[in-house]
Symmetry: C2
Subunit: 210 residues, 2 copies
């Protein structure tokens, strides 16, 4: 596959959500201009992004909502599905599990880990919680490729090392530390304090949108 930018992926994920709402509203077709309006972008950009997935519309009808949804889904998702692990089930871990539960057909959190023995063996939304000592074993056995870090920073690097060793190649990092990872592992940092600082900065000036 040719290279696709992070921006394009971000937007495709957004288009998918918009499209599924359109479908729910009974729309069968949509023009790039309407899509653009719904996500606050230009129509040219919408068309470019859609080029990346290899789906084509027609000048007369625009895009088929159903067809484009499928095209975007095939592009973004692994057809075999992907499994994720939640590391840490404090308030944040639980919030994310609540929020994502049952929302995605081909991507789901199938295991949770915590080092508090009181939490081990609990079930959250059908997902079993294990001890962090068992990360390597479970991740490997389940074929988990994505991990969400919702723990305090101190332990993070060690756990990440184990995750990677067990086959994880994508990490969603809510920790405030900078992880050291090999080239082929994708890390998305989502430090919440840093996000707040950023918003505070731009709140001080009259500014552009995201």
């Amino acid at each position: 596959m040719k290279k696709v930018s992070q921006g394009t992926i971000d937007r495709l994920i957004l288009y998918r959500k918009v499209l599924s709402r359109l479908r729910a509203e009974g729309e069968t077709n949509v023009y790039s201009h309407r899509m653009a309006q719904l996500v606050d972008r230009t129509s040219a950009q919408v068309r470019r992004d859609i080029m990346a997935v290899g789906y084509s519309g027609t000048p007369s009808m625009g895009y088929s909502v159903e067809g484009l949804l499928e095209g975007v889904g095939d592009f973004l998702d692994d057809p075999k599905g992907q499994k994720a692990a939640m590391i840490g089930i404090g308030n944040l871990g639980r919030a994310i599990m609540d929020y994502t539960y049952g929302r995605h057909p081909r991507l789901s959190i199938v295991a949770a880990f915590d080092r508090d023995p009181a939490k081990v063996n609990r079930i959250i939304h059908g997902t079993r919680c294990y001890h962090t000592d068992d990360i390597r074993e479970i991740v490997r056995r389940e074929g988990i490729s994505v991990a969400i870090l919702a723990i305090p920073g101190e332990e993070a690097q060690n756990i990440v090392n184990e995750l990677i060793e067990a086959g994880v190649t994508g990490i969603l990092n809510y920790t405030d530390i900078r992880l050291k990872t090999p080239e082929n592992v994708f890390v998305e940092n989502r430090d919440m304090l840093r996000a707040l600082e950023k918003v505070a900065f731009f709140a001080r000036f009259n500014n552009r949108e995201e």
Copy 2:
């Protein structure tokens, strides 16, 4: 002030954190090359970013850790301080309050809101929780400029309207809906499911870092 990109702000926030660690470790000076290494960027970019804050180093010593820290702080922070409100104190709201509590000298969460009467009037880390009906009054009275949305999507737009009317100009949106806001309000979207989808996508290929 001239225009500064979001990327530069993101990195300055990061530099600040790195610098304060260096200070804690007793370092008094630092070169752009070392900074670059610590945040995984090029030295040229570090120097460019620092140009934006208007601080200067010297060829012989690089940058003074103390001086640069102060320069970056003066650039990023409002000297009068800024106040933030937390909207929603479910798991996510509490996680963020725990995590950010006492971590920033010039930016703090001074009020929380929830519509569950059982939560109203509780105190979390010294922060009072009010009913969402009182948002307009409290936000205005306290001079709150930033809000963090940690509620289900349905209510979000209405609450945002009130927040903006009361003077909020920056929103950190953990909701999955796209907010409609006037030009001069800055919105940072942090939908957690979308973040997970993104990581899952890039986890499938051997990829670049953030």
